[in-house]
Symmetry: C2
Subunit: 286 residues, 2 copies
Amino acid sequence: VSLKAALIGTGYIGGSLAAALKRGGAIASSVGCDLRPGRAEAARARGLIDQVSSSAASCVEGAELVILAVPVGALSDLARAIGPALAPGALVIDVGSVKAPSLVAAEHLPEGARMVATHPIAGHEHHGPDAADPELFVGRLCMITPTARSDQESLDRAAALWRATGAEIERIEAAAHDALLAATSHLPHVAAFALAAALGEELARDEEAARRVAGGSLRDGTRVAGSDAQVWRDIFVANRGPLGPLISRLEAQIAALGRAIAAGDGAAIEELLDRARLSRARLIGS
Amino acid sequence: VSLKAALIGTGYIGGSLAAALKRGGAIASSVGCDLRPGRAEAARARGLIDQVSSSAASCVEGAELVILAVPVGALSDLARAIGPALAPGALVIDVGSVKAPSLVAAEHLPEGARMVATHPIAGHEHHGPDAADPELFVGRLCMITPTARSDQESLDRAAALWRATGAEIERIEAAAHDALLAATSHLPHVAAFALAAALGEELARDEEAARRVAGGSLRDGTRVAGSDAQVWRDIFVANRGPLGPLISRLEAQIAALGRAIAAGDGAAIEELLDRARLSRARLIGS
């Protein structure tokens, strides 16, 4: 089956998915639209989509697959806007990094509509259609989450689509997903944004020296601070429940390390560093 | 000139330097010693050094080049221990990530001794002689800092040695070095250690799921948390002056982002994220 698809949001993740599905033969043709000026046109110029549409509602008309690849804060309004225009039997999927908003958005679709929440675990530090990459999902994990508008057939169809991109599939409920991602992705992003902001203040006086000296720790520690601000604003707001206590925990660890350093307490520092090293080895492998 | 060298501390940086100098022809023969059991023997087995010595004082006897590659907190005691045994004309260099302790250590050497403080900006997330790599310094920056025991000839000799490893040289005073490195390296390490420690607590219940889901942000954000705890304990203690205000700044940024997230204040979050992204682009390039 090769589908007629609509892509709403033609940025890095959406553009990469459309390109991957096209190359994998799962999509026959695609129409895209984007609120940010020029993005849909850029996606068409790069061959990620075939046609540009000026509104979300017109974009989904006649589409058998609708991909919502917008910041998660926009999902509910978008579901309301496209609901009446959806073709019978169309499958809607989103690709957001928080799944609670997908559940809410699904409730805004008409009763007969089908929506499956999905989330590919793939780098966010790039953005825009120009960075899109049909190989982005190969070997990556894609989480599949049922909504109130999912039945077994739509879950199977969504899983098959992601497998066509080269991704591996894992099914997970929305709440478990959001708690797990708060720790494994959203908190590391908080740390990277805060570190980059703190260093920006400090090094403003001598950026040239900083650029010359900056080693791997600065580069790696701030890499994801280059991520899209609107996308991450929405992720942080949508997942603030699970994320809040984690941010407090990170603050507490930095404060504890700061106190031990200020006191010159070598034993306390070493204890914390050993614990951190072991944590990392357990979570990632050494 | 091919020198007789003594390597005190046969870990990742010391072992890599000895191997690089040997391969570059700057070292004819080398004796090494290490306080940690088995390390010097492992360094000899890997061909990083030629001979093992059981004490620092016996290690430096007859050496024309003495490399101090130990945690910076050990430098002063080490200088006192080797001072009487140094051969006339011997050049002592250290490789520590904070230069204030090198200045103090130099004062503990006899009047006629020659010591130059040096610091290669090269990854610390590996450790031990087994990870040593003679290519480690190729194209990297090495900071050269004068001490009270440096004259022009010894500064030139130290620079020539580092050039033989493939490093590029930059001269900098100790205080400027320590302030710059506090921001570009030591603070990113604080963030990585704290993040790994916080996640270790949080994810202890479900490490297997975390390992499966962990994306690039977790991996990169905690990479340097795998660094040697004793080395970094000493760096943090020695550089706590410049580092203290930076840790406070990082805490303040995390607290501000945490407050904006808890309040669901999208505009404040986006402002901070935009600022972070611009900072990173200025400090590293996009």
